[in-house]
């Protein structure tokens, strides 16, 4: 049975560990800054439209997430603390805690990318902020849920660095297409109702991914 107090303890452990080691935050911050700077250098004085901006926004989020989110499980395997966790908490509690940490990290990441885009790109104007906000929230949850179960899988593999984006890309294609479409609508100023279809897909993706992950995680984690 899932227990909120135990899940909170897993989250507190990861947050405290992250604040001391900066395994993920530094990787995410470095990637966001270099990716946005590279885009700026490439564009020079050009002003990209909503479709390009939306695509570039989620490309930065995708690759930044790939560089940071896998750490939740990979660092436990690398440090040898995976067995300690297995002997301390149930797989359901552990997955819920790690998922919560990754959701928080992804939301932090999207907030940072949004702030940088608003500063760097004059044409990045959130004409329908409510659509953008909902897209970012459900997009972050979707990203985090897919990334968390994939992180658990690749943490058990030898070639972790290369395997993660390769495995994640096909799983995240439906999510990427949907968040790009919804973000484009938000930048173009279409009303929230116009993005209803995209948001429904996002909610469905999150539910399927989280439910599937909970069912699968014990098999991935236990042996």
């Amino acid at each position: 049975m899932l227990d909120l107090a135990r899940i909170a303890a897993v989250v507190r452990k990861d947050v405290r560990s992250e604040l001391r080691n900066r395994y993920s935050i530094n990787a995410l911050a470095m990637f966001v800054v270099t990716a946005v700077a590279t885009i700026l250098f490439a564009l020079r004085s050009e002003s990209p439209g909503p479709a390009s901006l939306s695509g570039m926004y989620w490309v930065v989020v995708f690759f930044s997430a790939m560089s940071g989110l896998a750490r939740v499980f990979v660092s436990e395997e690398e440090r040898g603390t995976a067995l300690t966790l297995q002997l301390t908490t149930s797989s359901g509690v552990l997955f819920a805690g790690k998922l919560a940490v990754n959701v928080a990290l992804t939301m932090l990441l999207t907030a940072a990318v949004t702030a940088l885009y608003l500063i760097a790109f004059p044409t990045f104007v959130l004409r329908t902020p409510e659509t953008f906000l909902l897209t970012v929230i459900f997009g972050s949850i979707g990203f985090a849920s897919a990334s968390t179960i994939l992180a658990a899988i690749i943490a058990k593999a030898n070639s972790r660095g290369t395997l993660y984006p390769v495995l994640a890309f096909p799983v995240l294609i439906p999510l990427l297409m949907t968040v790009m479409s919804a973000t484009e609508r938000a930048l173009e100023g279409e009303p929230l109702a116009a993005a209803a279809g995209d948001l429904q897909v996002l909610v469905g993706y999150c539910l399927i991914m989280i439910a599937g992950s909970f069912l699968l995680f014990d098999f991935v984690w236990s042996e």
Binding site: D3, R6, A9, R12, K13, N21, G80, T84, E223
Partner: protein, 209 residues
């Protein structure tokens, strides 16, 4: 302490085509103790992990009963303590933090501060309780592992190579822990050392078939 029973039935473990052990059985009722002995590579640690519920046997079953109720594998960690040299603590946390964090994850609440202090005092680590475990020697880390394993007063205590990395004082402490646990619950000791195996009342010998 509640009534405790550990029953191993016809356990077998295979990795690929290699059989590590087979037809392993035991029935221990607490208060009691069980030694797992055998040469290197005979599967002592594997059997200890199977009993702890972190590895599955290829066939056979582990039945742990506490207070008349069967403890399912998913929640077995709440009723056991496990100490082994290959178990790793969080280097970035202090000794107190390791104990509090691991116990909070196990039981959903932090242990009483007085209990934590008392265990660290008994382990001889009171003076360094607020130092990061990463700065500790392997013997000191082993002592912290004992504190994390014992603080919730487990019904079943599993010790794999119990005195590894410990000095004479530490080894005497472990013997005391084994005596105390075998008087209140069940202790399983996986060891190569004959004098450590002699602490236990029953034994499983691996690698004899």
């Amino acid at each position: 302490m509640n009534h405790v029973r550990l029953k191993l039935t016809d356990l077998q473990k295979r990795y690929n085509r290699r059989t590590i052990f087979q037809q392993i059985g035991a029935d221990v009722t607490g208060p009691g103790s069980l030694a797992i002995v055998g040469r290197n590579g005979s599967g002592k640690s594997t059997l200890a992990k199977i009993i702890a519920g972190v590895l599955s046997p290829t066939s056979g079953s582990v039945h742990l009963e506490v207070g008349g109720s069967e403890i399912k594998r998913e929640v077995r960690h709440r009723s056991i303590g496990f100490v082994a040299p290959y178990l790793t603590l969080y280097d970035e946390f202090t000794a107190v933090e390791n104990i509090v964090i691991l116990e909070s994850m196990r039981n959903g609440r932090a242990p009483a501060q007085a209990d934590v202090e008392a265990w660290l005092e008994e382990m001889g680590l009171a003076a360094r309780r607020h130092e990061r475990v990463g700065t500790f020697s392997s013997g000191m880390k082993q002592r912290v592992k004992y504190a994390t394993a014992l603080i919730h007063r487990p019904a079943l205590l599993i010790l794999d190579e119990p005195t590894a990395n410990l000095d004479e004082d530490g080894a005497r402490f472990v013997e005391k822990v084994v005596q105390r646990q075998s008087g209140s619950g069940i202790v399983v000791v996986a060891t190569n050392e004959s004098h450590e195996a002699a602490w236990c009342r029953s034994r499983i010998e691996l690698g004899t078939r």
